[in-house]
Amino acid sequence: MDSIVNPTNIPAVHTTSISDVVKDRSDVVSRENRSTVGETIVEDPRISCLDVNVYYGEKPAIRQVGLEIARNQVIAMIGPSGCGKSSFLRCLNRMNDTIPACQVTGKILMDGQDINGKGIDTVLLRAEVGMVFQKPNPFPKSIWENVAFGPRIHGLAQTKKELDEIVEKSLIQAGLWDEVKDRLNQPGTGLSGGQQQRLCIARAIAVNPEVILMDEPCSALDPIATAKIEELIDKLRLDYTICVVTHSMQQAARISQRTAFFHLGDLIEVGETKQIFTKPLHHLTEDYITGRFG
């Protein structure tokens, strides 16, 4: 599978032992320090988050997260289970609204506008910020209907022909067109897991969003399907801003340019992926990427 792209900025994470690299560095931040280290600020951010907290009832899921997300980049969110990375991701298109008892505070600015502000319509926000879920969730409709769903509810096409074009374009972009072009009328649920996930990506990009959020998009897929999705993510980076939550550190290393490490509800460290995986600034980050916990 040499088609896995993006080898240029990936350090050979597992050939040199990271702990050796880090061991003799005295400037590593100690485990007790819970404030964010690294570069949270970027030039010309698409999304800037300031002091974001998420509560489920009384229980805080993430605390005081400040992070900026750059345009046309892939940012990976890593961290052990329950660290709040998915909760954070779901803030970005206000999917947490659908969970009763979930409360979000803080500022999230998208191109300078607060998405939790009064005048914001979640319908339009979610048209701009698409989302792909952990488990492929195509609607039990035909492949065509699945992709056409978003454009239809947002009125992006006047005629059936325009809609056909959007469907075709999205499926081509998601790398699924050649596999399904002869059976667009068949149910999307009949595809294989990897195809379903690419269908969900096609469905998300059919609305022409600016940001795509992916919540562990490959964790239900086999390695070959995973490789295809990773390749796709790297291609999509040229047109979209992409946030990926992942459990796999190798995946984060392969597909992302920046990486954010969450631990128990705190954003511990943010930085260039290369730097996070070779010279982490925080002791917890080092522990995690060297496999000492999580």
Binding site: M95, T98, R126, F133, I153, C200
Partner: protein
């Protein structure tokens, strides 16, 4: 009394067998339960089942044949002139003997022959009962102790008990099937008798229903027309009105409860709606005939419409209310069964709540909803009480909901209540109607089940 006593003894013996079986199994391995193939209680059940079940089977078989064996022996001892009677008359004599034995009223003078036969009957019964007790107890004790001696450490007691459980479950499920078959056949045979008197085509396609048949040749006004069409039109009309009420209201309340309502509201309101299903239909019936029907008549009168005081509309409306909880409860279940991931998918694409309901959830749940609606239709078609009280008995062939109509079930009730001759076409017509109705609801249920099965394949 003796039979109950015997059953009690048998139960005690089984309990004892359980106790000894369990103890013996533990004893066999010297208390080290891990050396046993199965848990000790399985050995207990194993012994108890061998002790109790064969004896119970013998007991039941014996009780089944007891009466005919004794009758045979009693008849054998009757005087010559009675023994050679025709079977019907002989049966009457036997009934007299049994009534005398049980202390019931006897249809003729008690003479010595009858008295002697009754004494013989009692004597035989006592002998047979005693023999039965001995046989059953000996069998239980023998089988039980034989099983106890055979208990070994590596014996697969658990597998034997599992097999027994399987058999019990099979027997239980076949009882339901056999009962259904029995009902179908009894209705079928009576219907065949009906169709010997009335041609099938007249019944299925006849336009007029007037089941009063002439008892005497010179009787007037009792033509005996058995056309089922007006009844089925009435049934369908009332069911249609009921569904027009129940489906929109029930479905919308289900959508509200599952998609919009807060969990707290839902936990309060859902049981309240289901209470509607707990109201006896006879209460709906008088509500319908005393409140709704006059209201409709008066309102119709104000609007210048000619409304009968018993109308299909009144019955249909109330029946619709009655069916709402069926639809809402079943639809609520299938809507809740739609995976959250599909809702998330739709919301993440920017769909609003109603768009998500309309374009994703309802289509995904549609087969289940349709299945629920078809079950409700079966219920509406079979409903009797409301229609008896609110829609009347007049078999008018009309689709006007303001007129009185009648339904299949109502006619079955009126045909079979009161004193009836059981060989006149009038009475037998009830069975034919029942058969036809059974056929219709069966077809609906098959469709419903088919749809529901298809629904299972939809996602996952």
């Amino acid at each position: 009394m003796q039979a109950q006593f015997l059953m009690g003894v048998l139960t005690l013996m089984s309990v004892a067998a359980y106790y000894f079986g369990r103890r013996r199994a533990v004893f066999m391995v010297g208390g080290k339960i891990r050396d046993l193939h199965s848990l000790p209680s399985y050995y207990g059940f194993y012994a108890a089942m061998w002790c109790g079940i064969p004896a119970l089977l013998v007991f039941m078989l014996w009780m089944g044949f007891e009466s005919s064996i004794i009758s045979y022996l009693v008849v054998d001892a009757l005087p010559q002139d009675q023994r050679t009677l025709s079977p019907d008359r002989l049966n009457l004599v036997l009934n007299d003997i049994k009534n005398l034995v049980n202390g019931n009223i006897v249809s003729r003078e008690i003479d010595t022959a009858l008295r002697a036969a009754a004494d013989r009957y009692i004597r035989l019964q006592n002998i047979i009962r005693a023999a039965l007790s001995v046989a059953v107890l000996v069998l239980a004790a023998g089988a039980g102790s034989w099983t106890l001696t055979r208990i070994k450490a590596r014996q697969r007691a658990r597998n034997a008990v599992e097999r027994l459980i399987t058999i019990i479950l099979i027997v239980c499920s076949s009882i339901a099937i056999l009962t259904t078959l029995g009902i179908v056949f009894s209705v079928l045979f009576e219907s065949v008798r009906f169709f010997q008197a009335v041609p099938v085509a007249d019944f299925l396609f006849g336009m007029s229903w007037s089941p009063q048949t002439a008892i005497r040749a010179d009787q007037v006004g009792s033509s005996g027309a058995f056309g089922a069409v007006p009844l089925f039109v009435g049934t369908l009309l009332i069911s249609l009105i009921a569904m027009l009420v129940a489906v929109p209201i029930g479905l919308r309340s289900a959508i509200y409860l599952s998609e919009y309502a807060s969990p707290r509201f839902r936990t309060v309101v859902k049981p309240l709606i289901e209470i509607l299903a707990g109201i006896p239909t006879v209460v709906y019936g008088f509500f319908s005939s005393l409140t709704v029907a006059p209201f409709i008549r008066d309102t119709g009168g104000l609007l210048g419409l000619d409304v009968a005081s018993e109308s299909a509309l009144a019955a249909g409306l109330v029946m619709g209310i009655m069916i709402i909880p069926f639809i809402s409860s079943l639809s609520d279940d299938v809507i809740n069964a739609v995976p959250q991931s599909l809702r998330d998918g739709a919301y993440a694409l920017g769909a609003t709540r109603s768009e998500t309901v309309r374009r994703v959830i309802i289509p995904a749940a549609l087969p289940g909803i349709v299945g629920g609606i078809l079950l409700a239709v079966s219920r509406a078609i079979g409903e009797t009480m409301i229609v008896v009280m609110a829609a009347g008995l007049a078999a008018n062939l009309t689709v006007n909901p303001l007129k009185a109509v009648t339904t299949v079930t109502v006619q079955i009730v009126t045909l079979l209540t009161g004193d009836q001759e059981f060989d006149s076409p009038k009475t037998l017509a009830a069975f034919a109607l029942g058969l036809l109705l059974f056929g219709v609801t069966l077809i609906l249920n098959v469709i419903a089940l088919h749809v529901v099965r298809k629904y299972r394949e939809q996602y996952e």
